[in-house]
Subunit: 340 residues, 2 copies
DNA sequence: CATGTGTGGGACGTTTTGTGTCCCTTTGGT
DNA sequence: ACCAAAGGGACACAAAACGTCCCACACATG
């Protein structure tokens, strides 16, 4: 059945929405019958007219009856609703999860793919695919895209496909050297993405461990300044979210940093910032490029991360910044987040 | 899965239609790629513009790509189509049957309920329900409805439910005395239907075995003439289809009639007419009311019959008259019809 | 090289559908 | 008798869908 639903989601994207709407109407009618149009419209947060159209429709389908005293479910409607109750749990599983997460995290948009990244490797590909598809919808209008490193972002690069608007896009790394393996470095991924969709790109190589003077003079370099300006003006930011300690180790951070992270109970990491459970920034990698405060509301920020064990990291990061507009995650992480 | 589909059919009636349309587009694109918009529109019997809207949609869903040389399926489209092929067989099972029957019998509309009347008694109820629902859509505009007898029609009467327009309807028996058991007689059913939906009705009692003189004088009776005129002007005709010999026996026809039916290979029967396999009328019950030639194209004629063993009867009847606009039958009969 | 046929995409006016917003009559309870 | 709440009719307006062009471009063919 799941496969049928997946196909339908592709072939009729607003099917679920409509089903859910009508399902809700039937439920409310059952609960409140006999109920009038206007009062029902209030409860369902629909305008009178739209609800009326729906009611007319349901009436034509013999699912409800309308009398002068109000609306009732018909016998057939009752039977259908009974079946529907059972099936909707399954049908809306993901949808309901998305909705709850949206409310809980106060995020505009949540996309959940079913499965668990940690257990099934192909789920990460699904995550990446979802991210790629989501990006696609934006890059007609948002043409400078900042990207971070990480294996998830590398997967996103693999999933990108070019289209008519993609040529106009420029990819830039969000921040200089935050210490990933080369194939998962932001610069590498930026290059790969640009090649995939025939777009332009700019890289930002900032050597680690520079003395302050060299660093300062480097920053005065015009080419450098230009890239950084471009990065700061990016209209879309795509990034992964990591577990704080895992990231710190992978980056071979100083022991002092590590201990501080542990002491301050850092759990999440995103583009070089480490967040405690409550969302406070407890550490940041010092480098150029996007800073947390650059994530203004005008930017579209897409965060991608999946797997049950990343739930806390996701939460800490979301608490730490309200800039994220889209969260793309998997079912396992979503359920874990909600269960907390 | 079937239950989900059933629900969806109720909740979004044109879902299947849309799915099928898009599925077809994908199939054709795959078969003809790279293919242009106009040529595709021809093959699919869609106008250029509607196809274009669909293509835009599918393009946005990343299911197909459009280049200057024509359209191709995308990788994702290919994958989806593969899954779709498998699932559509099941999804459209009934729909495809309906479509094939429509083409094969040259009928405007075919409605098939799944199952087999002969084996599962509740399938007849489903047939009746489908018929009742179908009638409902008409009686806003078609207000005089002629009904025949038979157990199927009796079941239809049970399934009728009243609505706002039903009061304006008048039920009449299609023909006088064609010899059914009283509870399955047209007059009885007409009365029952009218009661069910708070409509008016007229009956037509024509005693059997009248001498010609009495019959002639009876026909001059004004009340009689009025009813008959009403019947002939009926805007909708609902009738069952029977197996010729079964019907003849049930009606206790003369042995001479029986032998003639056998000789002439009568197989189907509908409102008193007997049809041979090729559709010729080989016998008719002599009585007043609707005659075969009264079934003009303006009338909406709905034929209801199900069960594998009625397939031949249905076919013979349909061949005999092209007046039928809607056939309501069950899966078993439909499959049998197509396999012939 | 010209030409003809196919491609996608833009554009525009028309039609249809959906919607927000009224108002009116009916109904049923107080 | 009255009032609140019901459904339904009506209308104007916006948005979407649609039919029907025309255009630029690519490619094969003469």
């Amino acid at each position: 059945m799941q496969i049928l639903l997946d196909i339908q989601k592709k072939l009729l994207p607003d099917l679920l929405e409509t089903m859910q709407k009508r399902y809700n109407i039937l439920r409310y009618v059952k609960a409140m019958e006999p109920v009038g149009r206007r009062s029902l419209a209030n409860h369902l947060q629909l305008t009178e007219r739209t609800l009326r159209s729906e009611v007319d429709f349901l009436k034509n389908q013999n699912l409800l009856e309308v009398h002068s005293s109000g609306m009732n479910l018909s016998q057939e409607g009752r039977e259908l609703l009974e079946q529907l109750e059972g099936i909707m749990r399954e049908v809306m599983g993901i949808n309901i999860l998305e909705q709850r997460l949206r409310e809980m995290l106060q995020i505009d948009e949540v996309i959940i793919v079913s499965g668990n990244c940690d257990e099934s490797p192909w789920v990460k590909k699904e995550l990446a695919k979802a991210c790629a598809a989501r990006m696609k919808h934006e890059w007609k209008n948002r043409r400078t895209i900042a990207i971070t490193g990480g294996s998830t972002m590398a997967a996103v690069a693999d999933s990108l496909v070019s289209d008519e608007y993609s040529k106009g896009v420029t990819f830039v790394p969000a921040r200089g050297g935050v210490g990933e393996m080369s194939q998962n470095q932001a610069n590498t991924i930026v290059e790969k993405m640009a090649q995939k969709v025939h777009a332009s790109y700019k890289v930002l190589y900032v050597p680690d461990q520079l003395s302050d003077e060299v660093y300062a003079s480097l920053m005065k370099e015009p080419s450098m300044k230009e890239v950084i300006a471009r990065i700061k003006s990016a209209e879309m930011v795509i990034h992964g979210i990591g577990e704080a300690l895992v990231m710190a180790e992978r980056r071979k951070s100083e022991p002092s940093v590590l201990t501080r992270l542990v002491e301050q109970k850092a759990v999440g990491e995103a583009f070089g910032y480490y967040f405690s459970e409550s969302g406070e920034v407890v550490h940041k990698v010092l480098t150029v490029g996007l800073q947390l405060e650059d994530l203004t509301p005008e930017k579209k920020v897409i965060a991608v991360a999946g797997g049950k064990k990343k739930a806390k990291a996701i939460q800490s990061y979301i608490r730490g910044t309200h800039a994220t507009t889209v969260l793309i995650t998997d079912e396992a992480a979503a359920r874990e987040l909600i269960s907390d």
